[in-house]
Symmetry: C2
Subunit: 206 residues, 2 copies
């Protein structure tokens, strides 16, 4: 059975870096923006448009779990089409190979494949620092400007998650490991983390 690692993360917590480095360490696939590209190919929408829908939550209100896509009421047809494509593509990836998938509700979408689900979080100060370091010279924002952006993006992620599941986004019960990256140098944590994950999957094979 493929080893699927899903990474859910607060914006600015370094979840993406963890995912990328982990995939490299474990020698398996890495999927994040790649999913957007695939959806764009499949649906014919632009990557920019897909990206807006895919996880940023272009929804006017949160609503509850529905087994069929018909219950995505309140979404535009385009949005539903993109979310359906996203689920299909994520499932196809997980069928095809062991991999790390970042965001996009993969922990819920892939429930039946028994993924290892990781949640990455940090305190606001660390998240602001990380955002500041990663920002282009042209888009330097003050801390006061960054903080509401971080909060808004995570709010949208939560909303997106609410469409897929009645499990709460970020509730530790829904993850196998929750990693606080406040003040942590991520690259130094990948080796032991990778070993922890390998052992976690090994128990499943017994």
């Amino acid at each position: 059975m493929n080893k699927i690692i899903t990474i859910s993360r607060e914006f600015g917590s370094g979840g993406r870096e963890i995912g990328k480095r982990l995939a490299e360490q474990l020698g398996i696939g890495y999927y994040d923006r790649e999913i957007i590209t695939e959806i764009a190919k499949e649906t014919g929408f632009s990557e920019q448009y897909v990206s807006n829908i895919s996880e940023k939550g272009a929804y006017s209100y949160p609503f509850q779990f529905g087994k069929s896509f018909a219950t995505y009421s309140g979404l535009q047809n385009n949005q539903t089409e993109i979310l359906v494509a996203q689920q299909k593509i994520i499932k196809e990836i997980a069928q095809k190979e062991s991999c790390v998938i970042v965001g996009r509700g993969a922990s819920v979408i892939l429930k039946d494949q028994n993924p290892m689900n990781i949640f990455v979080y940090a305190d606001m100060e660390s998240k602001i620092n990380r955002c500041r370091q990663k920002a282009d010279e042209n888009e330097k924002l003050s801390d006061k400007e960054i903080e509401p952006k971080i909060i808004q993006i995570d709010k949208n992620r939560k909303k997106y998650h609410n469409i897929l599941s009645n499990l709460e986004w970020g509730d530790k019960r829904n993850y196998h490991l929750c990693i606080n990256t406040s003040g942590v140098e991520i690259k130094t944590m990948i080796l032991p983390l990778g070993e922890y994950i390998e052992n976690w999957f090994r128990r499943r094979e017994k």
Copy 2:
């Protein structure tokens, strides 16, 4: 600076086993019941009595954080004496040596020593299984009997935590790593976990 690892845990999640094995792996002290013995020596109360007060929450109602022990109102004098002794002993241990301390609100009591705080949890099924495996032949309980006991013990731990701090017990923000032990074979996870912790402390020394 000493490396202090505190382990908070849900009852039946294997937090104690993790703590013991980690201390062994890292070659540092381990404190759990040992604290009870020390309090008993210091206060003159029996270990049994101290144990009841120490973490099991012999409190009639939860109350809020207070900076001074005088605000432990609602506690018997004995109880206050034991909690004061407990705080003193935990601080002395952390001053003396690198160690793992399980439970007893150490994550809060030792805040100023910058400990690494770990929370260990599991789903109810795993916790019941673990309790069943650890039970003596004479105290075999049905799952229906075990579950309310688990819930009650954790409720008391939460109450005890409320006395020490206004941080919420079990809220991932208050820990550096949260480990879900559902279906996990703990002994196979200790090596990578120990390495993760060593790296975590290393960044502090930079």
